[in-house]
């Protein structure tokens, strides 16, 4: 009878079409990525057919210049994309949210300095920033790309967090909570983070999509994951020379890339709709 739910969980998500489609596209990607850990149609590193074969029952998307199965490489590319997106957003979120919250609490002068620094960092194109970081590390690796993209994302997240947190901190309920003895740390944990989360999570999903594109671009430019890691960007680059004779090689990884990014954006859209209980007037 006296069951009282004091848990932090958010209310059940309302059905949203874009959320469903987004989740389906991203989910497919996740399933494929996990599958490749145990099984791929063919050996990704060795030839399993003739060179530049057209799609067939044996090779659904054909083979590359060295006779390796294309579908296998695209599937492994899904794993790379997921690792890059997740890693970059995780780094960007942890650094960015921390800095943003600190800036929101900082004294006027420190806050101004932080805001200006972030604006300058954000003015750099993400890709250029990432290229600089990758170029500065001794060897191009998946991890330096993730770190670079994560740092670029952290600047964007920090700026957004700072603005959102400042807006929340001005609200009456913050003062009300403070008058009952909530510490500043408590205010951040119970009021600021939950209240900025709906907007932040949407931004994280968008940044995930952008990170995947940026990694593909880095790989396309030869600054991404080195060969054994298949990346859609590198597949696109390798298929460049044969784009007229074997177009599937360029089209397939392109579709995979677009599907994941669109999926992530739809997911973000859906999140925006369901994230805020005050906007759910369905009752």
């Amino acid at each position: 009878m006296t069951s009282l739910d004091l848990s932090t969980d958010r209310p059940a998500r309302r059905h949203s079409l874009s959320l469903s489609i987004g989740l389906a596209l991203v989910g497919l990607n996740v399933v494929v990525a996990i599958l490749t850990l145990f099984w791929t149609p063919y050996d990704p590193l060795n030839a399993s057919g003739g060179r530049l074969e057209a799609p067939s029952w044996l090779h659904w998307v054909g083979t590359d210049r060295l006779g390796r199965d294309y579908l296998t490489q695209i599937m492994i590319g899904a794993r790379t994309a997921l690792i890059v997106g997740t890693g970059a957003v995780a780094i960007g979120a942890s650094i960015g949210v921390t800095l943003g919250i600190l800036a929101a609490f900082a004294t006027r002068l420190l806050d101004d300095v932080m805001a200006a620094t972030l604006d300058i960092l954000i003015a750099f194109p993400t890709l250029l920033l990432a290229m600089l970081v990758v170029a500065a590390s001794d060897s191009a690796s998946l991890w330096s790309a993730i770190l670079a993209l994560g740092l670029a994302i952290s600047a964007i997240v920090a700026r957004l967090t700072r603005i959102l947190a400042k807006r929340v901190l001005r609200q009456d309920y913050i003062i009300a909570s403070r008058t009952s003895g909530t510490s500043w740390l408590g205010v951040v944990a119970w009021h600021v983070l939950p209240n900025i989360w709906p907007t932040l999570s949407v931004n994280f999903a968008l940044q995930f999509g952008l990170a995947v594109i940026a990694e593909a671009s880095l790989s396309y430019l030869g600054l991404g994951a080195p060969p054994p890691n298949a990346s859609w960007g590198r597949l696109l680059q390798e298929a460049q020379g044969t784009v007229y004779t074997a177009p599937v090689g360029s089209i397939a990884p392109g579709i995979a890339l677009v599907a994941l990014v669109i999926g992530m954006n739809l997911f973000a859209d859906g999140l925006r709709d369901v994230g805020d209980p005050t906007r759910r007037r369905s009752r």
């Binding site: 009878m1 006296t2 009282l4 309920y173 008058t179 009952s180 003895g181 005050t278 009752r283």
Partner: protein
């Protein structure tokens, strides 16, 4: 016996303007005092100065001693120990005073948990949950379980103010500051909330600083009243004395306005 709250020469300056000047008053334990004055007279500023929560760009001078602790110029982390223990506040606008994304039960649970922790050294989930429902019941909210699981936007304005009162009661403060707690509500709800607040304050024996611009409202709940205009105290005294023999024109206009309002409603003067 020293007073629970003693304000001496309180002056508050905001943006080059003096919004409260040289204000002095005190409130003993269990005493109920009213602070009245028109909009912008510095009532809320005075209240926030007592909680020590005015933003740093607003300067506070003078002395505010609350429960033996000087507030003016004291570090925030020391003051935080007083908040919820010595004072709690009910605000004017019940919607914005509640976190829109947190269930009502959880918002009340937080101060309850802190108090149990402080008083008993432990606060089990069950004990906190029980007390939350108890509080919701005490402020006469129907179906406490449903309200506890609702978000602020899912209950009515009057119910939200009851929730805000429950939150303040959850702290069991020695002094409750009510900053125009009924202004945002319709007349019927106002009367209900006022009765509730009055009953609860008498029952628990806490002191009350009741802020309002509405004279009859103040007269109903407090013993002593102070009239404020442009941050200056015009007069102070027992409710009956101040209202029966206002020594100041400004107070007279407040009394007249209230009387005209009563007559317009067809009520006879009390």
């Amino acid at each position: 016996m020293s007073a629970l709250l003693s304000v001496q020469g309180l002056t508050v300056r905001a943006g080059g303007k003096t919004v409260v000047s040289d204000l002095s008053f005190s409130i003993g334990s269990g005493e109920r005092m009213g602070l009245i004055g028109e909009s912008g007279s510095g009532k809320s500023m005075t209240a926030m100065a007592i909680t020590g929560l005015l933003p740093p760009n607003i300067s506070v001078t003078g002395s505010i001693v609350l429960d033996g602790q000087e507030i003016v110029g004291t570090e925030d982390k020391h003051l935080n120990r007083l908040r919820g223990v010595a004072t709690a506040v009910v605000f004017q606008e019940p919607l914005t005073a509640l976190d829109p994304l947190m269930k009502i039960g959880k918002q009340i649970a937080e101060p309850v948990r802190r108090r149990l922790q402080r008083e008993q050294g432990r606060a089990s989930r069950q004990a906190v949950g029980r007390e939350v429902l108890d509080l919701l019941d005490k402020v006469a909210l129907p179906q406490p379980e449903r309200i506890a699981n609702a978000y602020p936007h899912e209950v009515s304005g009057g119910q939200r103010q009851r929730v805000a009162i429950a939150m303040a009661l959850a702290c069991r403060p020695k002094l409750l500051i009510a900053d125009e707690p009924t202004t945002a509500l319709d007349v019927t709800t106002q009367a209900e909330i006022l009765k509730l607040l009055d009953g609860l304050v008498r029952e628990t024996g806490m002191a009350l600083l009741f802020i309002s611009h509405d004279l009859p409202v103040v007269a109903e709940v407090v013993q002593r009243v102070m009239v404020l205009r442009d941050g200056i105290a015009l007069e102070e005294g027992a409710v009956i004395d101040v209202f029966a023999n206002p020594s100041h024109d400004y107070t007279q206009t407040l009394v007249d306005a209230a009387r005209m309002f009563d007559e317009a409603l067809g009520r006879t003067g009390s």
